[in-house]
Symmetry: C2
Subunit: 104 residues, 2 copies
């Protein structure tokens, strides 16, 4: 029996960074810790080479909005625009379907 799929939301954050990243990794860790404490947080994945991609998952659009407006996060966003990011893009997406593969 296939269980019913309950849609949830993904925030795809793609970015390119500046050379001077003073304070970035501490802030990044802090934001990850805080995000995990938010209501509706489901998980996140990150990787960075030329471009960085962080995808976070949330149970509702409301949860995404609350995290966007969280006060420490607002400061981090400002600092990010001032110092660390040369460019970023944020996409709010509804996850409609998914499947997995696991090697045996």
């Amino acid at each position: 029996m296939k269980t019913e799929f309950k849609p949830y939301y993904a925030v795809i954050f793609t970015s390119t960074q500046n050379k001077n990243l003073d304070g970035y990794s501490e802030m990044s860790e802090k934001m990850e810790t805080l995000a995990k404490q938010q209501n509706g947080f489901l998980g996140m994945d990150s990787a960075r080479n030329t471009v960085g991609i962080t995808v976070s998952y949330w149970d509702t659009l409301e949860a995404i909005k609350n995290w966007k407006q969280q006060s420490d996060h607002l400061q981090a966003q400002l600092k990010g625009r001032q110092d660390w990011y040369s460019w970023y893009n944020v996409k709010i997406c509804k996850v409609e379907r998914e499947y997995d593969f696991k090697a045996t």
Copy 2:
């Protein structure tokens, strides 16, 4: 005036790889070239550290389905499951909203 946002689709492919990656990078390049030739392909971003994230963008669900069933891509998927990936997850998402930042 704000132009109207036209929803499109994202495929979020997250994966972890095995140690032996013989033939992987050639196949990966070939698939990127072929994906770009598919109808409805809009773009893609990739990064890999512990986990790899590739997000590709498509104008319709039909375009995603066609790419999934493209014959060279089917062979690549099989090879990926047999040899290269210990795990992967595919999420089909509708992009509902987005915004950009660019440093001046």
